[in-house]
């Protein structure tokens, strides 16, 4: 029920914002929704699966570059570019996951960081596609030749649709047998193996799926900014995505999405006030880490529950 209310509110945002003469916020909210997709995909492997991936930005970057490279070679149709982006990012996730899932704990964090940095430096070497300077997309992806996301609102509703679909998919997967295996693998991988589950194969599938969804977010980001740059894949971005998930509440899918909305909106608001907005952002992040034990979502739902009682 709560999810429907959130969806309704987000759907009503553009007319309301336009009415309040704050139309540009629709652009910011679109970007927030794109990062919400990535944050929810990351939460599935990090929160539910216990796999702390420190190279998730690489999946977004590969998705964005898939759209960019397709565009440079004359392919502008989203029906081709978006699946290509998800395939490329999901494929990279599966490939690197094979090696990464052999490790545990902090070593998994570091090996995913290593693969993310390798992807970053590889892309900066692609001088054919702008290398370090990135590449401008002169038109956004079309749908069967029709410019479906050219305007501000159409792009927003496309991002909202993708975010809602991602949420629904991951929620269903979480409640399925597959979801319970991923959950169990987080709590006690040894026990799961003793029960007869091939833990690594299940985790690899989850890792590849979340990579593919990261690719979708990347494809949307490329269209939102109409620009593709290696900066999308820097380790800072992977760090920011983890902050979004943990800030929102790593234990809940909706929490991670909410965390992304909060961080993107906060950056926009704080940057408007002071040039040194990062100090305020740092203090907020620190306060949540110290006092809101299970993230904003956890704390809010806790508070709501206490209110209702």
């Amino acid at each position: 029920m709560r999810a429907a209310a959130v969806l309704l509110a987000l759907a009503a945002a553009p007319p309301v914002l336009e009415g309040l003469d704050a139309g540009f916020w629709v652009v910011t909210l679109s970007r927030a929704l794109i990062f919400a997709i990535a944050a929810m995909a990351l939460q599935f492997v990090l929160g539910r699966g216990g796999l702390v991936c420190f190279g998730f930005a690489a999946f977004m970057g590969i998705g964005a570059y898939a759209v960019g490279v397709a565009y440079a070679n004359g392919v502008e149709d989203a029906l081709v570019a978006f699946p290509l982006a998800m395939l490329a990012a999901g494929g990279f996730a599966a490939l690197t996951g094979l090696a990464a899932l052999r490790t545990r704990g902090v070593h998994f964090i570091m090996i995913t960081l290593a693969f993310g940095q390798m992807a970053y430096f590889a892309v900066t070497a692609l001088s054919a596609y702008g290398g370090d300077d990135g590449m401008t997309l002169w038109t956004r992806s079309t749908l069967g030749g029709f410019g479906w996301i050219e305007g501000r609102w159409p792009l927003y509703y496309a991002c909202l649709g993708a975010a809602a679909a991602t949420w629904a998919l991951l929620r269903a997967l979480g409640a399925s047998r597959f979801g319970r295996v991923i959950d169990g693998a987080r709590q006690n991988p040894g026990r799961m193996a003793a029960l007869g589950f091939d833990v690594r194969r299940a985790q690899l599938a989850a890792y590849a799926l979340s990579g593919a969804l990261g690719g979708l977010a990347g494809a949307l980001l490329a269209n939102h900014a109409e620009y593709v740059s290696p900066a999308y894949m820097s380790w800072h971005r992977s760090g920011e995505l983890i902050v979004m998930v943990v800030l929102g509440g790593a234990a809940s899918l909706g929490g991670a999405g909410f965390g992304a909305l909060v961080v993107v909106a906060l950056e926009e608001v704080l940057a408007g006030w002071t040039q040194h907005w990062r100090i305020a952002m740092g203090l907020i992040v620190l306060a949540v880490a110290l006092f809101a034990r299970d993230g904003l979502a956890g704390t809010l739902t806790g508070a709501l529950a206490r209110l209702r009682r």
């Binding site: 139309g23 540009f24 652009v27 970007r31 900066t124 702008g130 290398g131 370090d132 300077d133 990135g134 401008t136 002169w138 900014a225 109409e226 620009y227 740059s229 900066a231 999308y232 040039q275």
Partner: protein, 381 residues
Amino acid sequence: MTAMKSLALAAGLCAATAAQAETLDIGMLLTLSGPPAALGQHIRNGFELALAEKGGKLGGFDVNLIVVDDELKPDVAVGKAKALVERDGADIVVGTVFSNVMMAVFKPVIEAGVVLVSPNAGPAPLAGKGCHPHYFNTAWQNDSNHEVLGQHATNQGYKRIILIAPNYQAGKDAMAGVKRYFNGEVVDEIFTQLGQLDFSAELARIAAAKPDAVYAFMPGGMGVNLVRQYDQAGVGLPFLSAFTVDETTLPATKDAALGLYGGTQWTRDLDNPINAAFVKGYEAAYGAAPSLYASQGYDTALILDAALTAAGGAEADALSAALKAVAIPTTRGDFRFGANNFPVQDYYLAQAVKEGDAYVMRKVATIFEDHADAYAAACKM
């Protein structure tokens, strides 16, 4: 410290606009953080100095200057450029410092029907086939200052030189510029990572190759480190450069930079009344020697003032036509745009010297006169 000074100046600026003339929103998108932040700061200081001297008005309009830091991150700059034109309703956008950021923000600004005036970055694509009637550059095309050093190396009769530059658009333009006018052999082209600060490995390669001279393009903090480590390593070969040895890096490099050469379209000792007033005004306002970037910020304000007066408004086509016809005296002498909206001007060889306790660049020779960039022909406007 510099932040406090410019705030004081801005405050003074607001008080000056007594009469309620129509307000003009000018968005200024510069790199104000990270190693090369000094470049953005100098351009901003120069522009604000001219604005203050004109009582906060350009072409009779009250100016609301919206300064935004692009953090030398193209993807961040795209978002901020959109915010400037779509949310803040900027009538004119002045920016950017770096070419990679310029390539990213060009589309959102131009497609919003707003005139884009670059006080610095002049990447080859926007001077050639990618030129646009609403895009102007008041500084130079990236290659030009490097061409000065290529011509100088030829004049000096050097046979073998080594080039070193960061691995991005302006870095490639720099090497292309030197090679266009240098008739000797380029022994090695070393590309470093943007933002790299330790050049020990690269300096060893240079020393081993024993060239006649070294050409370097390393703006901002990267240049500070390269010059200091070049001096510490005692390489001792002639050091030619553009955008590396100038008044933004001299305060940090000090003696290590003495005797090193730079290619530029402006030096403090250019003999014209506007330049003399500019240098004195800048040092009084900011307590530091102005650089070519500061002069570019100052000239941009002068040029906009003339064009806005002629056009009577910031409407893109009218303002563009007025800008194209601008012919006014500036800090570097008489200024005019070429066919591709890039300046046609003289270029000089300058050398770092110490006067009293100040480190400044002095003009050594005039290399080019009325020099147009190499891409103007490819621009079909």
